[in-house]
Amino acid sequence: MLSVVLAALALTMFAGASFGMVGAPTVRKAAQVTYKMAVITDVGGLNDHGFNQAANAGRLQVEKKLGFQTRVYDTRTSAERLPNLQAAAQAGYQLVFGTGFFMGDPLDKVAPKFPDVKFAGIDVNYNTDLPSKPANVRGIQFKEQEAGYLVGYMAGLVLKQQPGPDIASAIGANTVPAIVRYFGGYRAGVKKADPKATVILSYANDPTFSDQAKCKEVALNQISQKTQIIFAVAGGCGLGALDQAKAQGLWGIGVDSDQLYLGPEMLTSALKDVAKAVYLTSQEFKKSPANFKTGFNKVFNVKNGGIGYGKVSAKLKNRAAIIKKVNAIKKLIAAGKIVPPAK
């Protein structure tokens, strides 16, 4: 009986082979020069609702709008970071992005072997994470504290105008540097708008950035402490917290990408536009690959548009006035008049 099943399975497979399941090789438009760009994600997966997904979204935009030939290398384990990076450089990609600060060491090792390839490490600090200072790597950093400050400031204004205790909170997935910076800016922003306010900051300890139950649990804890606004800095995990805020009629604040689509209970979102950073960097490369500068940190901030805040809920009272106030702060940050703290 088993052999019958096996034979049937084998048949199905061979049928698949012979009857044109073979995907036709993707036909590329014969542009004058096609640049090749690759994105290497870090562990977490392409559907992490965060960093990796955003970098991949940026890649797709680059492919569509800039006409690059692109490919994504999804890293699943620690052992795959370096081989993936090397494979991309070896496969002739001229611009290679590594996402996440754990890419620092692999970039440090691989980049010197491929002097003709330009590398960019998202969240990699050129000055501290690359001991051998490879000349063909660019670090890409974000001022998350600026985005945290902006949404924190808005949260403070909302706390002041609505009845109830002046308590705002934030939930981080994990103590990674970016989240610590978000937290630092957020607390300062809330205090700036409402000096009397209390800010609760907690971590859900979810390295996968996708376990909604963990963030939900932390949210319930914060709600018991009478928080009025929850800033979820935790990718997919944070969705659990935002869901809980919504159920209790509290405000939620999204992170990284614009999460207003989750509903009108979303006050706004802190934007760290990784996709835009990938896009802008590739655009710069396309303009003149020869003059593409490496060997430094490119910082994305409010000033150059890599950092900001998202759309604001239509349900918010005095919406226009609040937006006006936040924009004024945004201008001050861009001008360097306000420097949000990084922790």
Partner: protein, 433 residues
């Protein structure tokens, strides 16, 4: 693959411990002995083939060609390297001597590099597989390979990044031994609890896994005592000093080359076989595994063997963690602690390898190749979508586990076939009533 000596049953099938352990003692090890007589290599092979076929159907259902996908996995694992023969030279490891070789070992070629990565993954899998297998032989199900692996890695990274004044070789040996002992101690806790109060090892090892997971996350995380001194915002430990690293034996040492740890893993396979089949200790461990009551009656201390078996298991797993740290990883980050699942794959390796030394070695190679082969760098997006590629390995692994669990079905068919064959002959065949 089968080790008749290790089953405790005579090769001729003479009734020593009971002709049909299923009927009398359906203990884990008793079942195992039954399997080994019944199927030999058939069960693991069938389960693997069926798992791959099922995986192929899933690939097919995503409108991709399973044959092309499997070919890509095969090449991604670097196994095609063996087919390219020619006239080449290699350097004998640890020397400057060049000798003629029929394969091209230059790792700037993808096939050779992929093969080094497959073997790199196989190395810890052999050891975590042995960790599960050894306890299994004593009738214990060690789910704690992951925790023991992590403890080994933590101890390894601590010693490797400190004690910088030590001479190189003693430093490395100190690190490896201490890490192995750390893993052993971690497992011994579960063994001692089992021996003293009868706490089930499945429960305690799972709990110890979480302690290692969060303990490790704390130690190398922000503010933890093992965090690095270069950029404190990054939750990662300091690097192992250069001198204490395991020497690379194949490839560029800067590019995650295959390290000498694979010899240690292969040595562990031999040690496993010898301890289990050629020593009193191994005899006692197996006796307890078959039937603790009988062993106790025979004068064997069951409690002592529970602790010993777990300790030796932990030794293997702790060594696996150390080899990864001293071989290629050189540092331990929070993400590394939390994403790693080498210890859990070890369970699959041990079960598929049917807890024999040769079986574990081959199963580790299979899983190592599977995980390396399904990486997105090997699977061209036109062959298989990268979003699914990562899950393909997990799925095939899960299917294999499922079928290993369901191997009674396969055995039943196998037995029925044998019965048919036997009844065709004279009914006087010994012991098949």
């Amino acid at each position: 693959m089968s080790e008749p000596e290790s089953t405790g049953v005579d090769r001729d099938g003479a009734p020593t411990l009971g002709e049909d352990p299923e009927a009398y003692a359906p203990s884990v090890a008793g079942r195992l002995a039954f399997y080994q007589r019944a199927g030999g290599i058939v069960t693991p092979l069938t389960t693997t083939i069926v798992a791959f076929l099922m995986g192929g159907i899933v690939v097919l259902s995503t409108h991709h060609n399973p044959l092309r996908t499997y070919k890509a996995i095969f090449e991604g694992a670097g196994l095609n390297w063996f087919f390219h023969v020619g006239s080449h030279h290699i350097t004998v490891p640890f020397t400057q001597t060049h000798v003629w070789f029929w394969w091209d070992t230059n790792t700037s070629h993808t096939a050779a590099y992929n093969l080094t990565q497959t073997l790199l993954t196989t190395t810890p899998l052999i050891l975590t597989g042995l960790a599960v297998a050894f306890a299994f032989r004593c009738g214990l199900f060690n789910i704690g390979g992951q925790g023991q692996y992590l403890v080994g890695a933590i101890v390894g990274v601590y010693i490797g990044s400190r004690f910088t004044t030590m001479p190189h070789l003693p430093h490395l040996l100190f690190g490896l031994v201490a890490a192995a002992l750390g893993g052993a101690l971690w497992a011994a806790i579960a063994g001692a609890l089992k021996a003293s109060v009868g706490a089930h090892e499945v429960i305690t090892t799972i709990m110890l896994n979480w302690i290692a997971y969060w303990g490790g996350s704390y130690l190398v995380g922000r503010g933890g005592p093992l965090r690095n001194h270069v950029d404190q915002s990054i939750p990662v430990s300091d690097d192992v000093v250069n001198g204490a690293k395991l020497p690379a034996i194949w490839g560029n040492p800067h590019l995650q080359a295959l390290h000498a740890g694979i010899f240690i893993a292969l040595g562990a396979l031999i040690a496993f076989y010898v301890i289990l089949n050629r020593t009193t200790l191994g005899y006692e461990v197996r006796a307890v595994g078959f039937n603790p009551e009988a062993a106790r009656y025979g004068g064997i201390s069951v409690a002592r063997n529970f602790v010993l078996a777990m300790t030796i298991s932990g030794l293997f797993a702790g060594l696996a963690g150390a080899l990864d740290i001293f071989g290629w990883q050189f540092r331990l980050g929070v993400a590394d602690v939390q994403v790693s699942n080498i210890g859990f794959i070890g369970i699959a390796v041990a079960l598929l390898g049917r807890t024999s030394a040769v079986g574990v070695g081959l199963a580790a190679l299979l899983f190592g190749a599977l995980f390396t082969g399904t990486s997105t760098r090997s699977l061209d997006p036109t062959v298989f979508p990268p979003e699914l590629a990562g899950n393909l390995a997990l799925m095939i692994q899960a299917l294999i586990l499922l079928f290993v669990g369901a191997d009674l079905v396969i055995l039943y068919i196998w037995q029925a076939r044998r019965k048919l064959r036997l009844t065709g002959r004279a009914p006087a065949t010994k012991g098949s009533a």
